[in-house]
Subunit: 216 residues, 2 copies
DNA sequence: AAGTCTGTGTGACTAAAGTCACCTTTAATA
DNA sequence: TATTAAAGGTGACTTTAGTCACACAGACTT
């Protein structure tokens, strides 16, 4: 079976953005392009400007906050059916982004020219709700993140981090090194190794070379 | 000179929300109410629901994130000409708020019934921009906050905190106790006292009972 | 003036996190 | 198979932050 680019996009929209109004889907389909990233690719980098809004249709993207020395801090995942909140608004206002996004799986996005934002916003109620809801969700997520770094100690943060990973990935098998986890939480490898060891002794997980099994 | 409630509101809007379209101002003026808070009053509390959107016209409000044990963490100020970002969207979606807002000066707000949000959003471009820009600003502010608690040590955080206070208040005289500062940064009074002492010795400020002079 | 409350200063200690050094194990590959 | 690189384990130490105890000073009360 052969599908045109248009049909493929229409298909993506029906699968992951079913809640969009018919006219909205048509309008998006007629003027967006598809962009593909490989696992590990950087989708956008601190200081970069947006020229389009991004709607994810497959894969998984990790959002990081970066500091001056290149240190990273993991914030949250974006998955299919979700938009990059920043691209929705930075795009509309032509502002530079302050975060880094990296694909952790092969990822497909729809790119919508920012020039469409105004029209979509005022024409389609489902788009307006989508934008606001996306922003609200990300905002709440950031608040929870603040809770954790402001109020919790490293062992609690690590536990929550792992829980989030296993939940999001829908598996009990996390393929990450201690060093990578340490980077995401902006701490050192030794600290993570020691805390993981304790969690293993408490029978919460099993440690292996390069991956962790969750016994939740 | 005597002014009607309507005229007073029109006046507020012209002063603090001059960028609103004429029709938008009229619509707001005809259906909003004024609410007043005294310094120290709590405007909203964790878990509460919004029934209206709030536009500040005078005073100053501090936004906190709270944890289960009642610990607080200062996030940012809201001032006249600004809206509570959460009230813009929680209102639209009828969600519970997760933060606490407290007036630090006597404060006046305009309350807009949430039922108006949809119409305003689709009818007035200046409202749509205002909402998005408000959200974007708060989002960026949260990101900066995360930077600080994730990447910086307490002395740097205190320094930035004081700078923000002096800037926002537009004075070199900050009337706060060490205990209050410690609460905002979610640390202990002794830590703040010691760090302030160091900053005094470095000639960055002068310490007094219950207030601090900035020598910036 | 005596008593009390609040705000601040400070030494001594504890706990948590981060660093350093060095080792072992496992996987990859020459 | 021998060699090397990557991942992880662990003891010892330093630094930072938080806690405890108590002293002291200024302001306010009676």
């Amino acid at each position: 079976m052969h599908m045109s680019q248009q049909e493929i996009i229409a298909n993506y929209l029906n699968t992951h953005y079913a809640f969009f109004e018919r006219g909205l889907k048509e309008e998006i389909a007629s003027s967006c392009t598809i962009k593909t990233f490989k696992a590990g690719d950087v989708l956008m980098q601190s200081g970069q400007y947006f020229r389009s809004t991004m709607l994810m249709v497959s894969g998984r993207v990790k959002l990081y906050r970066e500091n001056e020395e290149g240190g990273e801090f993991f914030m949250y995942y974006i998955e299919s059916g979700q938009a990059c909140a920043l691209s929705l608004i930075c795009a509309a206002r032509q502002e530079a982004s302050q975060i880094t996004a990296r694909a952790v799986e092969d990822t497909k996005l729809l790119l919508l020219p920012i020039s469409m934002m105004d029209t979509l916003m005022t024409t389609y109620k489902s788009w307006y709700y989508f934008v606001l809801e996306t922003y609200r969700q990300r905002y709440e997520e950031l608040l929870v993140t603040i809770d954790h770094i402001a109020f919790k100690s490293m062992d609690e943060r690590l536990e929550r981090y792992l829980q989030t990973q296993f939940e999001k990935l829908g598996t009990s098998h996390l393929t990450m090194t201690h060093q990578e986890i340490a980077n995401d939480l902006h701490t050192s490898r030794e600290v993570i190794s020691r805390l993981l060891k304790k969690m293993e002794q408490a029978n919460k997980l099993r440690l292996n070379r390069s991956f962790i099994e969750w016994l939740g």
